[in-house]
Each structure stands twice: as structure tokens, then as C-alpha cells.
Symmetry: C2
Subunit: 348 residues, 2 copies
């Protein structure tokens, strides 16, 4: 087992100094051609590679970015990661991940683990618990120490940093507008409680679309689910509530759901009740998921371009990391990613 070789060992073998070796490997003109050749040959033979940790310490730069997300087994987040990784790698950075599992304390612990020199900056999406507790001190402390942060998707205005968000409002509005254009008169909304900003914005988009078409929103057509529950587990509860809604309002001819699973459940319930999608009832979901594409009928959705979000977030972060000195006052930007309505078979 040949351990990794260091400059010191090369120097000793070749009977020169460490600095000579270092310079020779960089083709410094301080070093004679002879020595350069000798050193490089030896280095190649032993497959010398500079130790990253030593470089990081010396340069005060790790070339690594940290990404903290609530959950990785989730199509949206894994696509974001892919986008981040893509850009990061192209620009010479590694990506280190932390999962908050939607927990405030895990988020804090994870950030502290990484903030002590391991990375040059953060890309993160807040956990639901953090959103609920509205305790943002850890973000501010991290930024105060000079560590840049880019937030995506789940953001709050209280935190001043770069952000990448989806145009939830218009995405929802356009989806509902589509349903209205398709002659739907009674459009139900299946959404989450309001503390998650994205849920709130999508709800507002829904209301706006109705208003612009002079349709009076009916509170009874809006189903607000408690998504602190792991909805994968609480499918029956979800379906039960949807069924009640459909039973009580036979006039419903369309559903807009703020995520994929809600939409899928709506379709399932509809089918069970003998309703045909899209003829009796049209459905649109919100997300990039794999379910929409492969369900029957396939689901029309509002695509969030998750991978693009990751790419933009990474670019934003690395730009900030590499901008040597801040030009006067800190300047933050918010990138808005446009959504796209992907029409499939659950609408006409």
C-alpha cells in the first residue's frame, strides 16, 4: 500500500528543498530545466497530487459548497441538487449535502457542522419547522461571519440574501386560467396551510385567476391540508377529505392542486366515484415529479424547472464567493424562475 506522496517526500528523495519541488511542479522560471524535468518525472511516477486540505487551509478557500435541504428522497430537491452539482463541478467546486429532515434543530446542527471552515458558502431551502418557528438567527449568524448564502424555493423576506424562487403566483394563475379557458366553472383548490410561502402564493394565484375572470371564489371549494403530516403516510386521510369535498360539491368540474400527490389523489378519488378525467373533471398539479408523467391519465402540471433553479443558485453563490471584495454595500438579488404549463392528458 503506497500512501499518498507529499512534497516533502519528493524533496527528500531528490535531495532538493520543498520549495524547489513546489516551484518545479508549477514550471516556475526560477528553477532550471533539468530540475523541473527531474521533479516532474518523479511526481508523475508516484502520481503526486497536492493535498486539498492543506490547500484549503493555506488559501482559506475550500472550493466546496454546502447544500442543505429538508429531504432528498423527493424529485424536486434531487433535481435541484443535480443542477447545483452540474454547475459546481464545471466551476471546480465540490458539493457537500446536509439533510434537515424538515427539522429546525437538524438544520442548525448541520449548518454549524459545515460553517466551521468546511465550505465556502451555502445553498439551502428552509425546513418546514424553521418556517413555522420563524427563528432565523442561524442564517444571520452564518452570514455575519462572511459566509454567503443562497436560498431557494422556500424563502422568507426577513432574511437578506440572494434567492432563487419559482414564480408560484403566476404559475398557479396560469394553470387556473387554463382550466377556466377550458370552460371549467367550479374549480376546486387543494392546498396546504399558509405558513409555507409557496403554498400561500399558489393559493393567491388561484384566487387572482378567478377574480380576473369574474368568478367568485367559494371558500367551500378550497381544501387546506395539514402538511406537517407526512402525506405519503396519510394518503387515506387525504383521499377521504377529497372525497367529502367532491360529494358535497358535485358541481366541481376541475381541480387545481398545489402538488403532485394531491392532484393524483384527486384523480384517484374521481375515478372511484365514476368520474372521467378529463371529461367530467380536469386536473392540474404543481411540480416536476415523475408521477405526473407516468400516471393514467398523465397529469397536466406546472413545471418548476427544478434543475434550472439549482444551476442558477450555484452560479449566484459561486459568483459571490469569487467576487474578491464586496463593492461597497452588499447587494442581493432574487432570481425568479418562470414556470411552464406542461399539458398532458388530465386536461382537455
Amino acid at each position: 500500500m503506497r500512501k499518498k506522496i507529499t512534497l516533502k517526500q519528493i524533496a527528500r528523495e531528490l535531495d532538493v528543498s520543498i520549495s524547489t519541488v513546489s516551484k518545479a511542479l508549477k514550471n516556475s522560471k526560477e528553477i532550471s530545466a533539468d530540475t523541473i524535468q527531474k521533479v516532474q518525472a518523479f511526481a508523475k511516477l508516484y502520481n503526486y497530487r497536492p493535498n486539498n486540505i492543506a490547500l484549503s487551509l493555506k488559501n482559506k478557500k475550500t472550493n466546496t459548497i454546502g447544500i442543505i435541504i429538508p429531504e432528498i428522497v423527493h424529485h424536486f430537491f434531487s433535481k435541484v441538487i443535480r443542477g447545483v452539482e452540474l454547475v459546481a463541478n464545471n466551476r471546480g467546486y465540490n458539493v457537500i449535502i446536509g439533510l434537515s429532515n424538515e427539522s429546525f434543530s437538524k438544520e442548525v446542527i448541520n449548518m454549524e457542522m459545515l460553517a466551521n471552515g468546511s465550505i465556502d458558502g451555502f445553498i439551502l431551502s428552509m425546513s418546514k419547522e424553521t418556517l413555522q418557528q420563524q427563528d432565523y438567527h442561524h442564517y444571520n449568524e452564518t452570514m455575519n461571519q462572511g459566509m454567503p448564502i443562497v436560498m431557494f424555493d422556500r424563502v422568507v423576506s426577513e432574511i437578506k440574501c440572494d434567492k432563487v424562487i419559482v414564480d408560484d403566483f403566476n404559475g398557479a394563475k396560469n394553470a387556473v386560467q387554463k382550466l377556466i379557458s377550458n370552460k371549467c366553472k367550479h374549480i376546486a383548490l387543494i392546498t396546504t396551510r399558509d405558513y409555507v410561502s409557496v403554498g400561500r402564493l399558489r393559493t393567491q394565484g388561484y384566487l387572482q385567476a378567478l377574480e380576473e375572470n369574474k368568478i367568485t371564489p367559494q371558500a367551500e371549494l378550497i381544501l387546506k391540508m395539514d402538511d406537517t403530516l407526512d402525506y405519503e403516510v396519510h394518503l387515506e386521510k387525504l383521499e377521504g377529505e377529497i372525497e367529502q369535498l367532491f360529494m358535497a360539491h358535485k358541481e366541481i368540474d376541475a381541480v387545481f392542486a398545489v402538488n403532485e400527490l394531491y392532484a393524483l389523489s384527486a384523480m384517484k378519488v374521481a375515478r372511484r366515484m365514476g368520474l372521467n378525467v378529463p371529461n367530467d373533471i380536469q386536473v392540474i398539479g404543481f411540480t416536476d415529479g415523475v408521477l405526473s408523467k407516468h400516471s393514467t391519465p398523465s397529469l397536466t402540471t406546472v413545471s418548476q424547472h427544478a434543475q434550472l433553479m439549482g444551476e442558477r443558485a450555484a452560479d449566484l453563490l459561486i459568483d459571490k464567493i469569487e467576487k474578491e471584495f464586496e463593492t461597497e454595500e452588499e447587494q442581493f438579488q432574487t432570481v425568479v424562475i418562470n414556470t411552464e404549463l406542461v399539458e398532458r392528458d388530465s386536461t382537455k
Copy 2:
């Protein structure tokens, strides 16, 4: 903006030496109670945290493990990551990810990026391209440098290292046995070409189950797809081939597919042909995916316990990292994760 504080700065402020500060923070009995109190109070006030990079350099230990996978937007792999992250975090490690995107060269580059001191060990699953080229030099070189590797799922016997694999053979065998027990006589197999070990093993399990039940395998009932194609994109081609198979062999009363999407496509084609699942034709897939659970009818699958695989891999790796000195000769183990048949509505 208060930059991170260091021992040196604390030492200067408090007019003591760096070593005194370091020892005081560790409650060394070399240091007087007075000084300890003073130093700790100051450190707390300024929120001192030791710099990870400096520690890594000193200890020659990063407390970080690298995971390299072919693709992250994939339910199986993201579940594995979750398992790795869970165990790693509990044992005080961070996780850094690299995506090979099924490419040999990206796999090599990624490994080289991380192998130069950034991590203490690897967890990885081979890219398809590497499997095809059968070029494993980068694994062996990495291990020669004393960096432990744990492989999972896609492994080859040529590489000597710890492994975590799924019992593909028995998983497939049991699934097919289930179909046979359900009175199926003509069971089709939809699989991949043989170079991916897992596909080969599943095929063998299928054959073994037939043999044990004195059923003669028919080559015409076996459909081998070329999965170098991104099958998400080539859905139509996939469905076309399945349709041909079904048309040519109306006697088919069951399908065993080596992944989720093949199974789903089979169901879709069957439905299109007016066949009822599971009454006319029963279907079993292989994987942990989210699609199986939410399809209609929901799909009976062979669960691989992806998260458990990640957990076991992480434990194996960290055990090896922390085992100070190898007991004489290197000893490698292979952990086999048992599969589980999750029965849903696509079988009787």
C-alpha cells in the same frame, strides 16, 4: 461583519499563549481555574469554533465520506443517500456527493477530486459505462493509497472491497414464484442487457423459479431492452416492443420486469390492449420507487430496501476508517440485503 475568530486572536486579546487557550478550552488540568474560566467565557462570547480544515490537516482525518453515484434524480439512489447521510451524521461524518452521470470519465474525475485528502473513504455505485468498459484501475489505485471503498448495488467481483448488494437473484426468484403460485403459466420477462450485473442476476432468478417449477423457459417471452438509452426518453420504443411481445404471445398471463418503469409500461400496454390487470395479466416490478405505490393499479414490487443499503454501506465504511490498524491481512465482507415482496394490486 465579524469574521470567524481563531485561537490566535483569543490568545492575543487575553494576553496568553495559543497553547494556553487551546488547553483551557479543553479543560486541561495544566491550566488554572481562573484562566479556564476567562478563556471559555471569551470563547463563548465570540462563538469560537475550531476550524475544521485545520483539524483535518493536523489529524489527517476529515470526518467526511464521499459518495459517488451515477444519478441522483432516481428514487433508489436518493434513498441510499438518505441512509448514508443518516448513519454518517450520527457518527460525526459529513457526506460529499459526486455524480458520474453514468459516465466513466466523470466517475474518474470525481474520484480524483475527492481522493486528494478531502475525504476519508468512498461509497459508490459504478456507472454503466464503467461496467461496460470494465476498466477498474481508478478503484484499485484509490484503494492502494489506503482509501477504503464500499461499493453498493452495482458491483463486480474483480474489485476486492467491502460491498453491499441486494439479493437480486432470490428477489427475482421469489417474485416469479409468486406469479407461478398465482397460477400463471406464461410469464414474460422484461429485462436489460446482461452487462449490468443486477439485470443478469434477476434474469437468472427468473429462470431458476421456472426451472424449480418444471416450466420450460421460452426465449421468446424474454424481452431484453438496451438500457444505455435513457428510458425516460424512449418510452414509446419501450412500449412498442412490449406491445409486439404481447401481440405475438397472447398466452402471456404475467410479467416480471426488472425495474419499475418496465413494469408500468407493461401495465399501460396491457390496458391499451383491453387486458385487465391483475385479472388477465399480473405484473411484478423490481425497485423501491414511488411510481409503484401510486400507479393504478398499484404495482406489486420487489423492494430493495435502498435506505438500509445506504445505512449498511456507511457503517461498513466508517468501521473500516476507524479501525486504527488493519489486523494482519485486509479482510473484506459483502453484506447481502434481503428483498421483500410488497404485494399490491397488480397481482392477485
